[in-house]
Every structure is written in C-alpha cells, then in structure tokens.
Assembly symmetry: C2
Homo-oligomer: 355 residues x 2
C-alpha cells in the first residue's frame, strides 16, 4: 500500500533519490564497490562532496558572494554550540520562538551574555514575536526560521547591521528569500535535504576569526573550511543522498518552482483546517503559520480514535503532533506530493461526514 | 569484475550487510517506507538503536558490568575533545603512537596538562613504545590501540589503577581482549563496524560527573546516556548498518571466531612480505605489527608501476600507503575475505617472477 509520509523529520525524500541511494549502496558509479566501502578521499567521493557544497550555494543564490558551504556532523544541536564558539565574544541576541531557539540559547549561554529580544512563550509559541529591537552592541542576532513543533514560520527577518545567524533546519530550500541577508545559515539535513547524519552550514567566510578564544578543531568552522569540509571523515552516505536531493531540486527548477508547490500544499490544507468545523489550527495568525508543518487539533477530542483510524487506513504516516502541542501535525516538506495532501483533506472531510 | 577492497577506511563491509542496507533504503521492515524517511523516535528505529547498543556490549563481553554504549556523531576526532571535556580535570597521560594519538593530544591540551608517557616519533612511529610509566596523579591514561597509517598495534596495555581510555577506531571487534580493563572505549564506525557517520562510545558510567567544568550538552556523555543515545537525531543509516554488521559478527560466532580469520589473513600476508625479496615490511618488530593494516614497501621503487598495474588488473582496490609512510598498505578488516589476501599474495609472487 502506498504511504503518505507526513513525518516531521527525518522525513520523506524524493522517490528517485531513494532509488539511486539504494543502488549506490551496492554499486556506486559502476565501480563494483559500494558507496559506503570506498575512501572518502577517493576522487569519486570528493566529487560528491564538492557537488553537494556547490549545489547548496547555487540553489540559495549565494555563489560568488563570499559564502562557503560545509557538510558537518552533529545536527543543528551541534551548531547551537559551534555558532557561539565561533562568533560569540561578549553578547548575542536571540529570538525565542520555541524549543529549538531555547536549546540554541542554552548552549550559547555557556560562552557569553545573551539577550532574548523577543519571545512567544506566553502563548506556548503559537505566534512569531514582532516589533522587537536588537541592541547595537551584540556580536550577532540568531533566529529559527521555522518551528517544527509549533508550526510557526518567520516571514520577516529584522533589518539590522549586526551579523545575522539563522537555523533553517526545517525550511531551507523550501522558499525564496534573500539569503544574502544572513551571515551564517545552518540546517540539519533531515527535512528538505537528506537523511539524518549531516548538517549543512553556509558561512560568509569574512565573519570568522574575530573571537579571542581558542576553538577546538572540530568546533572551528575555519578548520573545516581549510579542509574543504574533509577535516575528518564525513558522513559519506548522508552527504551523498543530500547531493542527490539537491540535484533533484535543481532539475525541478530550483527553489522558485518548489515554492509554488509548497504554497499550494499549505494553502489547500490550511483552507480545510479553517473550513472543517471539527478542526482548529494551532496557530491563529495566518501570517505566522508554517508552510512546512501545519499544526491542528480536533475540537472534540472524543473523535480522535475515529480520525486516527481513518488516516491510518488511508496509508498516512507521521501525523501525530509533538507531545508539547498535542493534536496533529502535517509536515509538508519539499518531497511530499500534493496528492498526499489531497488524501489527508479527503480523510478530514470523511470524518466530518461521519461525525 | 569482483573487487578486492583493501581500503583503510571507510572500508569493506559484509556483502549481506550491504544487501540488507540497500533494501532498507527502499523498504524498511516491510513498512513501505524507507529507513531514511521515518522518525528516529518510531518504534522501528528505537529498536535498531537499542539492538546496536546492546550488541556492542555483548560482543565485547561488557554486559552487566556497569558499561553503556552510545552511537554519537563526529567520528573519533570529536571524541578526542569529548574525552577531555568529560574526564580531564588537571592532568592526563597519553601514549603517542602516531597521527591519531597526536590529534587526540592536541584537543585535550586545550583543557588541561598532558604528559606524553611514551612516543615512537623517533622512528616515524614504526614501533610501539614499551616500558613507560604512568604518573599516579593523572586523571586518565589514553592510547590508540591500532595505528592505521603506520601499521602498528598495541598488544600489551599498561596495568594501571588510573582510568584507561582507548581509541579503538580501527581494530574494535577484531580480536579478543579483556575489554573490562578499559573505562572508556571509542571507535569511529567506518572500519569494522559500519559506514562513516557514527561513532561508538562505550563508557563505564561511574567515571562520569567528576570534573568541575560545565560541559556543553552535545559534548556531555551523561546527557547522551540520559537520553539513551537519542538526545538529538542520530545518524539513522550509519547506526542501522552498524547494527547489521554487529548481527553478522554475532552470527559468525563473535570476536573469537573473526579473530581466527584475522590472524590467518595477517599471518599469510606478513609471511609473503618477509619471504618475497622484492618487499620489506614497514614495521620491523613482529610483535608490533598490526593485524588490521599491513604496511610494506618495494625495495626497488622502479618496480612500482609494474606492481601497481598488476594489482589493479587483479581487481585490488585501496592498496596505496598513506602519504606519510608511502609504499603500500593492505587493510584487512573483519569483512575482507581471505580470498582477497590470497589474490594479493599471488600478485606479489607474480611480480617476483617477472622481475
């Protein structure tokens, strides 16, 4: 039975990518060797790493603008720490939009003073704080562009002269932005880019080398840049699958094309959430709703069992909300076909008819 | 053409493991979902992680002895730092057997005083230092059990009351040892365990919590232990393939069985290196030679082209030595069949006949 995979991450990837990845585990580039048994210093793999790095910059429109891309390990959680190690001399400004921002702040606090410039904690993070101001004397401003757990997404980024750092783990490559407004972007691969196990970091190289502390090698962006993202053995398979997914996106027409599809998917699902009298959206402000993760609840929770049965029977997977929000979360990452959203909407309508 | 893969790492894994891994990328556990598109919190993946953790302890004979296993990210290079963050309060003792020991020392030095208790640097690390003594006041002793680049291996470990930490990246699960003599063992997966992208860490839990510094979350072993190695999204595919490889080893009869095969492979190859008048072993002391990585040189380097052509024609891959040693390196990890070593020996004999 065909599955409709709404998992929040690790999540759906393009079928053609899975197929190629599966083949490469047996026979990579017609070498009669597996991708996972060759040296990471072999020409074949160095080419994979270089393709993945340059495709990332190309898709974001950041080629020839002083940026470099790295594929590191440790997920966004490691970047929470590395950002501070590399950029935080005295003070940094953080926008608090939920769980991931909080975790980022927790690690940065070990290395300097933090200013929380805005927070939506008062309403369990169901909106994006606005009209906050960033102190002039901070080393950088940090925000999380999309909040998987609460289903909110930043559409406006502050106009500031300070360095701008953004955790884009869950919406990178999903929508057009002026990415050159950011000095550092990081993203765990396991949403729109690839399998868990690698993290994309995009850095404007000129921002490095300004802090006075000695940075341990593995936490030092400059060390990784100096070795073209091969300071130590990279996560070969996750990097390869990321490269395949970036190629898929480029062939599709890039971010501008996938954004149209993503907008359509979000539009029809939120329309049903708002129309269907059985459901309510978790995020009231329409402009703060995430196009990646739609969070919604049943108004009458006694219908839960019936709804759960219906979507399970329809082959839908990964629809349960995060424990801190409850209800449902439909994650609609780049590779999720619009047909899967259609099926979910049908199931919601069917519940209404039966209720 | 069948390949004989002597790569130093990432390296050969069992064919049956590659087959299962390839299938899981398309359809994992008959779920009609790919291994790499499901939640790491799903029951199916939690089971993988728990199997991998318990198989590691079981194969090393460390179950019910106060040890726990973690599958982290960042390779041994990250452990160089984490070991010091978690265990180094004032002073630590390191045995210097080459490149990897040096890198481990470089990171630890940032956090405390280091005593190099022995070194084979005087002879480009072609032997294992012996008869060194470990100061009584150190927090721990650190060594590298096998040195891939130079082809040396520790057969004796010091009898000391201090904590013993060992980097076993390149020979874990290859030979029987009293593993309970160690308090912390770490190993990048990409030799005898799995693909690049995950690192096994085995810790005697009671040794943690003794340093006064605040440890960042991602560098804190206790944080990872408290979350059963799922503090953040693990490297799903590398952990799964590691689990498959550990299952393969268990089904084969465990370390005692693979050790017999490894001994045989090393025995016949070193016999040929010593017998064949065209070659010389890089490591003169027989007791210091690695059973994982045999390093050897042509005495007359004008035969290089002919030798390279012969082994390439035989389907042999990954035989070039590391740039800091030169010559040849035959890595004979667990999954390398003895037939591949036979082929290499034939090629060496053929060169002799033609020379």
């Amino acid at each position: 039975m065909k599955k409709h995979n709404f998992s929040a991450g690790p999540c759906i990837l393009p079928q053609s990518v899975m197929q190629k990845a599966s083949e490469a585990v047996i026979n990579f580039n017609n070498s009669n060797l597996s991708l996972i048994e060759i040296s990471h210093r072999s020409n074949d793999f160095v080419e994979v790493m270089e393709n993945a790095r340059s495709l990332s910059l190309e898709l974001l429109g950041l080629q020839n603008k002083g940026y470099k891309a790295l594929f590191l390990q440790g997920g966004a959680s490691m970047e929470f720490l590395m950002v501070a190690f590399n950029l935080l001399e005295k003070k940094a400004a953080y926008l608090n939009t939920g769980t991931w921002s909080n975790k980022a702040m927790k690690e940065a606090k070990l290395l300097g003073e933090l200013v929380e410039v805005g927070s939506s904690k008062d309403k369990n993070f169901n909106y994006i704080p606005k009209n906050y101001s960033i102190p002039a004397d901070v080393d950088y401003f940090h925000c999380t562009s999309n909040n998987t757990i609460f289903g909110t997404q930043l559409n406006e980024f502050p106009n500031t002269t300070t360095l701008k750092v953004c955790d884009m783990s869950s919406d990178i490559f999903s929508r057009q932005l002026d990415f050159s407004q950011f000095d550092l972007i990081y993203a765990g691969a396991q949403k729109n880019m690839g399998p868990a196990g690698t993290t994309l970091v995009i850095i404007k190289e000129e921002i490095l080398g300004k802090v006075s502390r000695t940075i341990p090698s593995m936490l030092d962006y400059q060390v990784h840049l100096n070795k073209d993202s091969m300071f130590n053995t990279p996560a070969v398979f996750p990097v390869y699958v990321s490269m395949l997914t970036l190629e898929w996106l480029k062939n599709l027409g890039g971010i501008s094309e996938i954004e149209k599809i993503n907008n359509k998917k979000a539009e029809i699902l939120y329309a049903e959430i708002d129309r269907n009298p059985l459901f309510t959206g978790f995020v009231p402000n329409i402009e703060d709703r995430s196009k990646m993760n739609a969070t919604f609840n049943l108004i009458d929770t006694s219908l839960s069992n019936r709804f759960n049965q219906l979507w399970n029977e329809a082959g839908i997977n990964g629809l349960n909300g995060h424990r801190s929000v409850g209800g449902y979360r439909a994650s609609m990452y780049n590779a999720l076909p619009i047909e899967s959203v259609d099926i979910l909407i049908e199931v919601m309508k069917r519940l209404e008819q039966k209720a």
